[in-house]
Symmetry: C2
Subunit: 450 residues, 2 copies
């Protein structure tokens, strides 16, 4: 809009008459005086109507309507200053009636409070509306920062960003939870990860990363699983050892957390949280050591499971916080059988892999490791798992024609945001979450509409 000023700019315009456009957040009338909040991309600002005609125009407003207002910027009297919001020291006094650009229908729930206390199904049924709430929208500014910081960190280390495909020819990694696509007269599948492609591209650019849409036919409804995830993947060659991969993962996570702390401090405050402490280096324990530590701390017998249980993950995090002053911990050396076929076996610890999970705040944040770069070993490893790599010719090519020692890591942007902000459900960290039961709307409701 011509001559439009953003709410965030008014602090420098006290005494001036300005034109502001945005959405109505809350309306309060006290008879001769009325108030509303207006939201635009610059923030939320209080507006005062103090003349009969501006009060009338204010009382007629419906929440979420889009309006254009003209008024004078004023400093609030000291007793009216709201220290909890960035624009709490100023307000606009209307000089003209409010002009409605797009009138909103009546709200299905209260959008006006600082907290949006909705059950998850309602929050998602009304996603186009609930996303506008000042408690919800900032979650996705944090996601944006996480993804941006990921890119920036790896670009600084000479990585090339690439675009990984979504449609793949085979379920070559052997996973069963894969979506099938009708591809003309053929069957195709949706990528569960860009793993093969990022490895192929180590042969081209040495160091690559990608921001991907990955799709997994997750058949259970949990608080941690989505069918569609934005994953952040990195892979690089000419490593001296798998420790280089852990170091790169540590560097990347550290840069991401720093960026969130620097750029999203207000969101951290809103969610009453802080970024986790990151040890330098992040402590590293083998799975079996972790199981011993957990047994010692809890008094329970040592677990012989090939993985950590959710309780184990919480306990090893507590240990890292208590003993190593780090809220993040690397658990390494998962058994060969528990990791994908391309995972590098530790020659000094046969049966166990040079792989790691980064665990923080009680759950897995990131997973990575060194890969098999020798063609013959790779084919043997695949065969040993009953995987027919002949169906993934491009992947094989990359190793047949020269591949350095390499490794990489991967993590979901939604999970990281969930963990940083302490959200109860990963769905809250996805703009438009998809699960077994829902794609935007509940599938049962959509089916009825057909």
């Amino acid at each position: 809009m011509q001559n439009r000023v953003l709410t965030g700019e008014v602090v420098n315009k006290v005494g001036e008459t300005v034109l502001i456009c945005g959405w109505i957040e809350r309306v309060r009338s006290h008879g001769k005086i009325a108030f509303f909040d207006i939201r635009d991309r610059g923030g939320v600002l209080q507006v005062v109507a103090a003349t009969p005609e501006t009060v009338v125009s204010t009382e007629a407003l419906s929440v979420q309507s889009v309006v254009k207002i003209t008024g004078t910027v004023k400093e609030r009297a000291e007793r009216y200053v709201n220290p909890n919001i960035p624009l709490g020291k100023v307000e606009i006094e209307l000089t003209q009636p409010v002009e409605i650009i797009s009138k909103a229908e009546e709200m299905p729930f209260d959008m006006g409070g600082t907290e949006l206390n909705l059950q998850l199904p309602t929050l998602l049924d009304f996603r186009a509306l609930s996303l506008r709430h000042q408690q919800i929208a900032p979650i996705f500014k944090v996601q944006e920062t996480v993804i941006d910081a990921f890119r920036k960190a790896l670009k600084a280390r000479d990585f090339t960003e690439f675009q990984a495909p979504v449609i793949i020819p085979q379920t070559a990694e052997g996973g069963s939870e894969v979506f099938e696509v009708k591809y003309f007269e053929h069957k195709a599948y949706l990528a569960q990860s860009p793993q093969f492609y990022k490895q192929i591209l180590v042969g081209v650019f040495e160091r690559v990363f990608a921001v991907n849409k990955t799709l997994r036919a997750e058949p259970s409804v949990t608080t941690r699983h989505l069918t569609e995830v934005t994953t952040l993947d990195a892979e690089f060659g000419f490593i001296n050892s798998w420790e280089d991969v852990m170091e790169m993962a540590q560097y990347t996570i550290t840069e991401i957390l720093k960026a969130v702390e620097d750029q999203q401090k207000d969101v951290l405050d809103l969610y009453k949280t802080t970024i986790p402490k990151v040890g330098n280096p992040i402590p590293r324990v083998k799975l079996r050591e972790a199981q011993e530590i957990i047994a010692q701390r809890t008094g329970k017998p040592i677990s012989n499971e090939p993985d950590l249980s959710p309780e184990d993950e919480k306990e090893i995090c507590k240990w890292a916080t208590d003993e190593k002053n780090s809220d993040l911990v690397f658990v390494t050396h998962y058994p060969v059988s528990k990791r994908p076929f391309y995972t590098f076996e530790d020659p000094e610890d046969p049966g166990y892999t040079l792989s790691f999970d980064l665990i923080g705040r009680g759950t897995e944040w990131l997973t990575g490791g060194q890969r098999i770069n020798d063609y013959e070993k790779l084919v043997t490893a695949a065969k040993g798992r009953g995987i027919d790599l002949e169906k993934s010719e491009l992947y094989l090519q990359a190793f047949r024609y020269g591949m350095p020692p390499e490794g990489g890591f991967s993590f979901g942007s939604e999970r990281i945001v969930m963990h940083i902000l302490g959200l109860a459900n990963v769905r809250e960290a996805s703009l438009f979450p998809r699960d077994m039961e829902r794609i935007d709307e509940r599938l049962s409701i959509l089916a009825q509409k057909k």
Copy 2:
């Protein structure tokens, strides 16, 4: 690798002994002296073997093998300087035999020349290998720059980046060329564009953009179509008119081209091309005006088609170059029937839309326009096309609860790269192109392997 130096760094290390790791590019033996090129992420560098044992180790090398070399950096004698390559003034003289890290099998074609003269099917059948070629890999550095510049340009204008979903519930835009996914017990579809989601998010962030994977069941095999594309989408609210959208598109394309010129000059040179001239402003003609201009210039009768033919697109580009000193031109006011239902009709030119295509070098680069932001009008427009918007409840919500005047634009990163570099086929601009006949391998071959 420990103490590893990148090829790009050796120019400052003349006289020093360095360790370099990379891929073998070409080997030439002249008996007592032998040469090879080594490639790493820093560039390509000539290596000389001048002692019996280093010559023997060089002669044993297979192209694309991964090696580790140790040698002394030397300035080349003046007559051996190669001005055509960045590292043409220096070379490495081996002080130790070459150490092989990963031996490549024999090449299926010559990878050693500066040009890779392969038919497209072979280029793609051996994509993991052909991507490594110095003529092919840089295409994707240009794609990276295009995408990066897109993000940077819009961030500078206060846009928020978001992650659009790939799996969607309905084919609500009414397109037939949509992929169907088996989604548990339901049917779902793959997104052909993030259109609905970016419009929804105008209600949340005002200004948004996304880098998307979009999927289209394109049933024809042409040089311009892929089934999977990385599209760049922007959408923003509070426009004064649709001209704001054209201005934003012009700004974005200008920034992208500038970035390619600044950062990828060597690739432009390699492809013997330059970025197109961009008028300021880019000339704008209504479709009907364009058809008149074309008729005048060609002497053919005025076309009454609702769109430009490929020949028309070439001719209007020539006109823009000749008459307006711009290789890009906006063609506007396509008929309502030729644009999606949400396109805004021009109140001053009924039957025609406030929409535009940006045309350059003979083909469409980008498409955009103003959208209907009024809820009732949107529903009426959808019904008029037989589109059941009831099945897209979130989309409707966004308009039911307050939406400012808004618009946006979209373009494919592969097409832009194709046009900038003058590639003959869009498949060359996709790392792993998908079409009716191919997902990595040819589908007919994959089917046989099953």
